[in-house]
Symmetry: C2
Subunit: 297 residues, 2 copies
């Protein structure tokens, strides 16, 4: 691996976005939360992932949120904001803004409104972002999450993009939930910055030459995942892997985003954490008792 390809590694949290009661972003809670997940074991943060309700935020809200994190003293070299939208001018604007703040990379969703788009069209979209941002400091992680976005980066397309834009297209987050896809990416692109989207696959990803995971769970339970990352090649790995998988299973039996927000609301005694932005909806504390118990266990 070259240095370029090790910009980010370890356990990154796609940061939850807290909302005030009037529906605006609660910046105070946001900055606190970023510091907390880093304190709990994250090696970096991903503002504006799927877990962040990012696509429910406006462009100005995203830019203000990112600025608040950097202003609060979080090193932009460990921040990988999501910046991929449906409309290229807006994707370029957000990506340029992230680069201008010193963020060491961006997590790029493909344009996701039109379905069944050929790889040539997605290639053209990524090329247009790179041309539009026009900065040597730009490092792109391709965000593959077909269960939600429906549109994704095939392994072949990732290879094409990495080949066409070496040193710019430096990694991917595979949230397909399909280990065979991650395995194919690892095999096709040794030295690429391959993250998995769940700690369930972290051990296998590390064994296969990947660099870590970007996982929702790290918003409320980063410690054990970081321990697995730190010890993936030790004799402790099996037990650590079983532990994080068990908790992940529990978490996934709840609606993940509102459930994690409800956990934070309970843990911090801060009811604003329960707020969601439509179309997602909050859950009540009573609905997540099993999850709270699992966190104590």
């Amino acid at each position: 691996m070259t240095d370029n390809q090790q910009i980010f590694s370890g356990v990154l949290a796609p940061l939850l976005t807290p909302f005030a009661d009037d529906g605006s972003v609660a910046t105070d809670l946001y900055v606190e939360h970023a510091a907390r997940v880093l304190d709990e074991g994250c090696t970096g943060i991903v503002p504006f992932g799927t877990t962040s309700e990012a696509n429910s935020l406006s462009g100005p809200e995203r830019m203000a949120g990112l600025e608040a994190l950097v202003d609060a003293g979080i090193d932009p070299r460990i921040i990988m904001p999501g910046s991929g939208l449906c409309a290229l001018p807006e994707t370029i604007e957000l990506t340029r803004h992230a680069v201008s703040l010193g963020c060491a990379g961006v997590l790029l969703l493909p344009p996701f409104y039109y379905k069944g788009v050929p790889d040539d069209g997605l290639f053209a979209a990524v090329a247009a972002v790179i041309e539009g941002v026009a900065s040597d400091a730009l490092k792109i992680y391709l965000y593959h999450i077909p269960p939600v976005a429906q549109v994704g980066y095939s392994c072949q397309l990732i290879q094409r993009l990495q080949g066409a834009f070496p040193g710019i297209v430096v990694g991917t987050k595979d949230s397909s939930g399909d280990w065979s896809n991650t395995a194919a990416t690892l095999a096709a692109l040794p030295g690429f910055g391959t993250f998995v989207g769940s700690e369930k696959f972290l051990l296998r990803n590390m064994q296969g030459g990947g660099v870590g995971c970007i996982t929702a769970t790290a918003n409320i339970a980063a410690g054990p995942i970081r321990a697995l990352y730190n010890n993936w090649d030790t004799s402790e790995a099996g037990a650590l892997d079983a532990g994080v998988k068990s908790f992940r299973e529990k978490l996934q039996s709840f609606p993940v985003i509102p459930a994690m927000k409800a956990v934070l609301a309970e843990r911090l005694g801060e009811p604003r954490w329960r707020n969601m932005r439509p179309p997602l909806l909050p859950v009540a504390a009573r609905e997540i008792q099993g999850l709270l118990q699992a966190l104590v266990d």
Copy 2:
């Protein structure tokens, strides 16, 4: 039907968006095109539908485009811009802008990033738009296009929204391609402004109490569709219906959006019309010979 529910009727074109060679919106061609489709038989226009590559345009591009149409003298009372995005603040901004220009209605996509969202979440999203725009002049047409957006308005949800916001939620565009869904909507909501998304269903929609169609085809062949609309309850309807269905079948055998742009490029001798914005891609003139021939026949 009340007057409220007859704001729009007939044949509306989801306007194609032309791009200059540098990728920006070609406003000159855009305004010309709007005037042309109205001249060819459209009763109204829908800037920023799926056919418009709307989700590939930025918010400022949409607002500037709509202003250009109104500035060119097109009556805003026959303009129904698409204004639904994933992020509520941006949906509210575009919707408010459309209302401020005097547009008689908006076509509202649901927030479409998160999949499997419960109806309660989509209800909350529409309610937030209505509350955020806060104008008695707001009239919403719910845009149901599950083949593309994946997220849609169920018939039950449409009933709930119409019941909660009478005089504001006044219609729908059903682009499901599933006549049984349109039939259910017509049956559940007599007097509602129900458009179909294809002229294939126009006759049945009119027979069932609907108000017209909003169809891509109207960008290049509005005349025959308008003739069917005008004569749906006459003895000519059968032959007119067969004619528009036949042409629609032909059109659908091509990639609809780039094929129609290529038709306009050929017809007008204006190569800029061939331009597409990624992730969609242009087609060459030679690829659409069969379509050009069908337009002559």
